[in-house]
């Protein structure tokens, strides 16, 4: 099954969506034909637009940096699609994600893919037992070159295709342009401020910046300045020096737990705060079933509200949530 997701129809007069092009669809169709399995395209445009694209725009409106891929896995792939597959009497939904599912005595565990460079467990941390029991990740146990080798052996036309990247619904991979066109009101210039509120410059719209960014701020100061926060209420971009960039703790909400419920009390875990970040050791405290606080041993930079905070114990995903903005 292939999902026809919502995407921009044209960019610069060119039909160009990244994942559901006629070419990509023809590839998928040829693979299914080579494997001798039925192939169907599901019209997922409406639900994807409502749950993911709107979520992405709304997140930026709230001054956070949203993770649409995680949300897509939560609401579309491992909910909408999985439910549809099961309704079609499928035994399992198999996808091409780089992660592993292991059957333990009493539960299913979600593990990192064997190929660390390709591991996608971060965006899969929204899965629970109901999902893991009916999903297969066949490629998660191979390094990517070996996956390509197997694909070539079976004569699959995509054996040597480039890896996919960026947000699938963007025509050109440029989310700033997308926001300018689809939500121009949130791309309005505003003040650049220090933590103490002093105004030191003007920014070009909050969504143009990310936490930790240093270049392109257009302010001069004696020391290097970094983006350390955003205040959507004042439409202010908060900057600070390298010392102000690092933080010792974060809170995350909308936690989902792979095992179905949170571990008891306080515990240790490795926390991954971005898709490409390295997991960092932290002490985790439950604030409620759906919220945690993670305290790090050393100040950690680039903690970005809206991104996922995913908890690992070694290779195993314990759960994940969304990094919250500091209380203002």
């Amino acid at each position: 099954m292939m999902m026809r997701l919502w995407s921009e129809a044209t960019v610069g007069g060119r039909v160009h969506n990244r994942c559901c092009t006629p070419d990509q669809m023809a590839d998928a169709r040829r693979i299914a034909s080579r494997l001798g399995i039925p192939f169907h395209v599901l019209d997922t445009r409406d639900v994807f637009h409502d749950r993911i694209v709107d979520f992405f725009v709304e997140g930026h409106r709230q001054g956070v940096t949203p993770m649409p891929c995680m949300e897509c896995n939560r609401h579309i792939r491992f909910d909408w699609l999985l439910r549809n597959a099961l309704a079609l009497d499928a035994d399992y939904l198999a996808t091409g994600h780089y992660a592993r599912i292991e059957r333990r005595e009493d539960r299913f565990a979600l593990l990192k893919g064997l190929d660390d460079a390709k591991d996608q467990s971060y965006v899969l941390s929204v899965m629970g037992q109901a999902q893991l029991s009916r999903v297969l990740f066949p490629v998660g146990v191979y390094p990517k070159p070996q996956v390509r080798e197997i694909a070539a052996r079976f004569g699959l036309p995509t054996a040597s295709k480039g890896d996919s990247q960026d947000l699938c619904f963007l025509g050109d991979g440029d989310y700033r342009r997308f926001l300018r066109e689809h939500a121009p009101e949130i791309m309005t210039p505003g003040p650049i401020v220090r933590k103490d509120g002093s105004v030191i410059g003007e920014h070009q719209g909050l969504s143009n910046y990310t936490i930790g960014q240093r270049k392109g701020l257009g302010v001069t100061a004696r020391e290097p300045l970094f983006v350390i926060g955003m205040n959507p209420y004042r439409n202010a971009l908060v900057v600070g020096n390298a010392d102000e960039l690092g933080r010792r703790s974060l809170t995350a909400g909308q936690m989902s737990w792979v095992a179905g419920s949170a571990p008891d009390g306080e515990f240790d875990a490795d926390v991954k705060i971005r898709y490409k970040a390295k997991p960092v050791h932290a002490r985790i405290r439950l604030l409620s079933d759906a919220r945690i606080q993670a305290d790090f041993d050393d100040p950690l930079r680039d903690i970005t509200p809206g991104q996922g905070a995913v908890l690992y114990c070694g290779d195993e995903v314990l759960g994940g949530g969304i990094i919250e903005r500091d209380a203002e």
Binding site: M1, M25, H40, V41, D43, D46, V47, A87, L88, D89
Partner: protein
């Protein structure tokens, strides 16, 4: 997931080629390979076969052989009729108005649209009623002294409604306009007697009546001139350039003969199967509604809409249960649009995205119908629960 059985209920899309037809075609891939346009005797053997086929087809159409033009299929026949007659009429008499309906096959409606957009023809799209039928008076009012051609399909491919062709043709002639009908869906099921129908041109396609794909014909009444829409050699008396498809034409002739020799038995069988589907589905499936005319419809054709059901999903479910069916709103690339035919009939966009067409054939059995009714009823319920906003 094992596919329990395979039931083909999409005979309006295409039919399996009759083995007797395949048998008759085989020599023309081998020993009788000549080009019917060649002067030598090897070419003449092919020519004889083609002219024999032309005569046999003409007999069924109640016309003379010279009035049958061979083409590559229904779309080409429609193109030749509409484009060829429109161009000729403008060059010889200055008529530049075209009349058609919103429920035509795209080969007609897009050709008329292109003539209007690029070549300054005027077009009138005559409305249809909630059953997809054209009102003869409304149609007559759309004609004028400048109308070159009216093209109205004999029987609709999506909802099966059969139009009052003799009356529409008569009205056209009263205004001095030509009348063409796309009979691609009707061929094999309804009479193709052009004298009864009163049409000037008529398109048919072999693969809809158990003949091969890639071959069709256009009936063109004697005396009507066409500008060839495909120019080149002087085949088919200058009306259609291109080497003739000998095996296809031979196959089409036999398939058409068989369809009308066996017409009564086939039609009775079609009606039984079709009514089994219609009665069964309307009785067991909630929110189901028959589309098209209840009685003025093709004997092999049943079509429905299902309130709150995404047709694309329904087809997927049916396919995995071994039932091949179709929907105008479904689309292999996952961006379905509501059916233009149903919108023209006054359905809202949601219902127009929930259509299912079941077209039975000579191989359909009562068991198939029973199974299909049961599975469709189950799948409709299932899909309704998993609607888009799920």
């Amino acid at each position: 997931m094992n596919i329990p059985r395979s039931i083909y209920l999409d005979n309006a899309a295409t039919t399996p080629t009759d083995p007797r037809v395949v048998e008759a075609m085989l020599p023309f891939f081998g020993e009788i390979y000549g080009n019917s346009h060649s002067a030598h005797s090897i070419g003449q053997r092919a020519e004889h076969a083609i002219e024999d086929a032309r005569e046999r087809i003409a007999k069924i159409l109640a016309c003379s052989p010279g009035e049958v033009v061979f083409t590559s299929g229904g779309s080409e026949s429609d193109n030749l009729a509409v484009r060829g007659a429109a161009w000729w009429a403008r060059e010889h008499g200055g008529r530049t108005h075209l009349v058609t309906s919103p429920v035509e096959h795209s080969a007609v409606i897009r050709t008329v649209g292109q003539l209007a957009d690029l070549m300054a023809f005027e077009q009138t799209i005559v409305p249809v009623d909630a059953e997809g039928m054209i009102d003869v008076e409304v149609f007559a009012d759309s004609l004028s002294e400048s109308t070159a051609l009216a093209s109205i399909m004999y029987a609709n491919n999506e909802v099966g409604s059969v139009q009052p062709i003799p009356q529409l043709a008569e009205q056209s002639h009263e205004r001095g306009a030509l009348f063409h009908t796309d009979a691609v869906q009707a061929a094999g099921q309804l009479t193709l007697d052009v004298q009864t129908l009163g049409v000037d041109m008529m398109s048919i396609s072999a693969h809809k009546f158990y003949g091969p794909k890639g071959v069709g014909a256009l009936y063109v009444r004697n005396g009507i001139q066409l500008v060839p829409s495909q120019s080149g050699g002087s085949h088919e008396e200058g009306r259609r350039a291109g080497t003739l498809n000998t095996p296809g034409i031979v196959g089409m002739a036999l398939a058409l003969e068989l369809a009308y020799q066996e017409h009564d038995a086939r039609a009775t069988h079609y009606r039984q199967m079709r009514d089994g589907l219609i009665d069964g589905i309307l009785a067991t499936t909630s929110g189901a509604m028959l589309t098209g005319h209840r009685t003025q419809r093709l004997p092999a054709h049943a079509s429905f809409v299902f309130d709150g059901v995404d047709a694309n999903m329904l087809l997927l479910h049916l396919d995995l249960k071994g039932i091949a069916a179709s929907s105008a709103s479904a689309c292999k690339t996952g961006n379905p649009e509501p059916s233009g035919v149903l919108l023209a009939m006054g359905f809202d966009r949601k219902l127009a995205s929930s259509s299912l067409r079941l077209s039975v054939g000579v191989h359909t059995t009562a068991d198939d119908v029973e199974y299909a009714v049961r599975v469709i009823s189950e799948c409709v319920e299932k899909v309704r629960k998993f609607s888009h906003r799920g």
